[in-house]
Symmetry: C2
Subunit: 231 residues, 2 copies
């Protein structure tokens, strides 16, 4: 029904609106949100439409009820838990940001095969041994699993997660894991992303230099055109 992209944008709208609200703003118009995100106003209106919330013509959207609508749409009625597998460099960074009991959505448990990490607490989150996976997922009623391990065992660990009741996976490993169709997987492949940025950076630079060249040789171009026209 609702697309992934819409859900992502709703999440962005919310963050901006929360900020604007603490700054005292009470209403917002589609083109303001659009400008902040560098998208088109029609996109914003279309997304908000899907919430069932209606704005006021010639006036915009009331921020407070709009935020409520977004929360109503995006959030679980109950706080939602996630577990992290792999407390390495990346896993630690994720814990620093997403561990925390008070939040609506948070990492509530971590796992690692490294015995030196098991038993420790990182950013307020306990690290368990791998064989506790099923048990802890059940106890915390987690629905999201985050994979921050190398690709090798990602598939088998993913399978365990799914068997334990996880239905959404955020996969940072380079392996494209396979899941049954009732499990949602998001692949965040930072290496591929890095390469992509590098690729287009180079392209942009070439393009910019070409443009610059054209600008510098503009008069010459004109002369050339004149010659053509004259023929």
């Amino acid at each position: 029904m609702v697309s992934e992209k819409t859900v992502e944008r709703l999440s962005l709208y919310r963050r901006i609106l929360q900020q604007l609200r603490v700054e005292g703003k009470e209403t917002i118009m589609s083109h303001e949100l659009a400008n902040l995100l560098h998208i088109k106003p029609a996109q914003v209106r279309r997304d908000i439409m899907q919430l069932g919330y209606s704005g006021i013509p010639n006036s915009g959207y009331k921020i407070r009820p709009l935020l409520e609508s977004i929360a109503n749409f995006l959030d679980s009625p109950l706080p939602q838990s996630a577990v992290l597998v792999g407390v390495g460099h990346l896993g630690l960074a994720l814990l620093a940001n997403f561990a925390g009991r008070w939040r609506q959505l948070a990492i509530r448990a971590a796992f690692d095969k490294d015995p030196s990490k098991v038993g420790q607490t990182f950013h307020g989150c306990r690290c368990y041994p791998m064989y506790d996976l099923q048990k802890v997922i059940a106890e915390t009623k987690s629905v999201v699993g985050i994979l921050a391990i190398p690709g090798e065992n990602a598939q088998s660990i993913c399978d365990t997660l799914v068997q334990s009741g996880i239905s959404g996976i955020l996969n940072f490993s380079p392996l494209r894991i396979k899941v049954s169709e009732n499990v949602f997987v998001e692949h965040v492949d930072l290496s591929a992303t890095f390469e992509k940025v590098s690729f287009f950076a180079r392209r942009m630079k070439h393009y910019a230099e070409e443009e610059k060249w054209k600008m510098e040789n503009e008069t010459t171009d004109d002369e050339y055109e004149t010659i053509i026209t004259k023929q």
Copy 2:
């Protein structure tokens, strides 16, 4: 000309092919790559077509020259450098993976406003003070900038990066930065991604439970249909 998605997939193909090559495999067919990535063979063929490389009907692609074609297409002729701004939790994780002199594409310098980090070396990468940005970017001829700082100053730092010659930005901050059209920006918004996974995880679970319910009540459904039909 070539789409972002295609570039991303080419990067994935390369990683898989490199692995397969060390395992001794010499040729590969579109459906094999497709199965590994859970996409359709036609997509693979289409992507490879754009490289200008041709496979052999009834035989597939030769891995070695295909890899060369991909490298030729994706990589800069010269090693390409990136700089990182923000050596916090996430920045450190990125350094752990992408710092390294020997690579074709790597983070060659880091920056932080925190004086306690400046001067230190993290994973082989030196951390410089912010006022060295322009100088170091020029020295390293970097084209990619990675932002791993809070949103507040992201825009102004981004502007400085662009002024210094950066034409590709990988932005991990929640702020959607604005750049001129000859600069490429990729936003990696981990909070929004996390929320998205959580959203669809919940949905999948509901869906699965509905399906299960339907399965269990299949006979009842049939009976109900019979009643309808009879009317």
